[in-house]
């Protein structure tokens, strides 16, 4: 493929003190692709996702968003300097993030949560932002909850609002960090349903998940992380049908039986 990848992760290492959580991870995500990252707790998948939107700074390595370096700013002379926070904030607008804990702002209505960034960051008028916010809420089937406060919604509804909030910035990629891990099984399905629809619409997505069914059915590619490295990756049918690595075989065995 000759097009510039939407996300390119290059040899990312992340170290917390003496603990090396990521030991050199590289991969690419192209436009319209859905990539699932799976792995045991502590394998580094959430940390990797947090490096991609720079909530964690990689110790070494870099991330490129449509070819633009997230961590460094180069000049014509070829020298590199760490990118200032203001520019990282600008680049983050292209990355919509959905968290395990939803993280809706409780003092704002559902619509307020969704239009905050389009209004204050992107500079849309309240009216234009509300129009956009309504469309985003419609995509997660919550247009009738626009004026409620988050505390009145179920967990699944809150997570769908969080998805709408991320969509409202019209990001190039959606990052999901275990979006269903704090939900009951029946609420999980409504969130996964929305994510399936996004995938079907051609949204570029990176999903950290423990939902093997979702990873298998919806992803274009699955990556299995183990001890800070990509242990195995490939199309889901191949990964789940004929796993190569012993560790991945053990990992999915726990989900199958």
């Amino acid at each position: 493929m000759s097009e510039v990848p939407t996300i390119r992760v290059v040899d990312v290492h992340k170290r917390f003190g003496s603990l090396e959580v990521l030991k050199g991870v590289s991969f690419e995500v192209h436009r319209g692709n859905v990539v699932s990252m799976i792995g045991a707790s502590g394998s580094g998948k959430s940390t990797l996702l947090r490096c991609i939107n720079h909530l964690e700074t990689p110790t070494t390595g870099d991330i490129f968003i449509e070819g633009e370096s997230l961590c460094f700013r180069g000049d014509a002379a070829g020298s590199r300097a760490p990118r200032p926070l203001s520019e990282i904030n600008r680049m983050r607008r292209d990355l919509g993030t959905v968290f395990q804990q939803f993280n809706l702002w409780p003092h704002m209505t559902v619509l307020g949560n969704v239009i905050e960034a389009p209004n204050r960051v992107r500079g849309l008028s309240r009216k234009a932002a509300a129009q956009l916010g309504g469309e985003c809420l419609a995509r997660v089937h919550l247009e009738d909850k626009a004026l409620e406060y988050p505390a009145r919604l179920s967990g699944g509804q809150q997570q769908r609002v969080a998805i709408a909030r991320a969509l409202a910035m019209q990001p190039k990629v959606m990052l999901f960090d275990e979006p269903t891990s704090s939900l009951d099984p029946e609420l999980t399905d409504e969130v996964l349903g929305v994510m399936r629809e996004l995938a079907a619409d051609g949204t570029t997505m990176i999903v950290v998940t423990h939902e093997m069914g979702f990873a298998r059915e919806v992803s274009d590619r699955v990556m299995f992380l183990h001890n800070g490295l990509i242990e195995e990756e490939g199309p889901p049918d191949q990964m789940f049908g004929a796993p190569k690595s012993e560790r991945f075989r053990q990992f999915i065995a726990k989900y199958l039986y």
């Binding site: 993030t97 702002w105 409780p106 960051v121 505390a151």
Partner: protein, 223 residues
């Protein structure tokens, strides 16, 4: 009832003028304490080089008795700083100082109680730190600390009785002045206590109603 009429009702103008002074001092001190407390809290949390200064001030304001503060501001400050120039000013400054120490810690608790994820969600949509503080942090802190802030106002009202010591003519001052005319304290002091009880009751009832309303509406704000 004759005594009550003579000792209290007939003195109502003096009591009322004292009440006005009390309310003025408390409101000014309260407003300054909120601003001062927020400043101290922000310096302590976010301005690394000035952090020790803020901690020392907060602890000093919290650890000294209000009477000591009052006398210190009233007698030491004019000599040290050439200000305050009136007893009235010294009174609200001292009250504001003490409450700003307490409120600084209240605000810090409120800020630290906000889940880190709320900030991360804001950064993820590209909000700048100042915008995050103004739009995400501060409103939540205001909501969650509102009951404590209201409570601090009742503390100010009660502490304000001490300003009579530096001859500020507040409600307590007027009450004592009248007692000292006839040396018949029972009715007057009972009436004075009743007035303070009513003020504090009204304020704390309003505070309770406020926090109930916040909890119903947002599902946040502790009791």
């Amino acid at each position: 009832m004759g005594n009550w009429q003579r000792l209290v009702w007939n003195q109502r103008d003096a009591l009322f003028s004292g009440l006005v002074v009390t309310v003025e001092i408390c409101l000014i001190a309260f407003a300054c304490a909120i601003v001062g407390g927020l400043l101290l809290c922000l310096i302590r949390m976010y301005v690394r080089p000035l952090r020790p200064v803020a901690i020392v001030l907060i602890e000093f304001f919290r650890a000294t008795p209000i009477l000591v503060q009052l006398l210190w501001v009233n007698y030491a400050w004019p000599a040290l700083f050439g200000w305050p120039d009136t007893f009235f000013t010294a009174a609200w400054v001292a009250l504001a100082l003490q409450s700003s120490g307490y409120l600084a810690e209240t605000f810090r608790g409120g800020i630290e109680a906000i889940p880190r994820g709320h900030r991360e969600a804001a950064y993820s949509v590209g909000m700048r730190p100042m915008l995050v503080f103004r739009r995400i942090i501060l409103p939540q802190v205001a909501l969650s600390t509102a009951p404590s802030i209201v409570n601090q106002f009742t503390v100010i009202v009660k502490s304000s009785t001490l300003v009579s010591v530096i001859t500020v003519q507040d409600l307590m001052f007027e009450s004592q002045r009248i007692v000292n005319i006839w040396y018949e304290p029972i009715e007057m002091l009972t009436a004075t206590a009743a007035i303070y009880i009513i003020i504090v009751f009204l304020v704390s009832t309003a505070g309770k109603a406020l926090s109930d309303m916040l909890r119903r509406r947002f599902g946040i704000a502790a009791a």
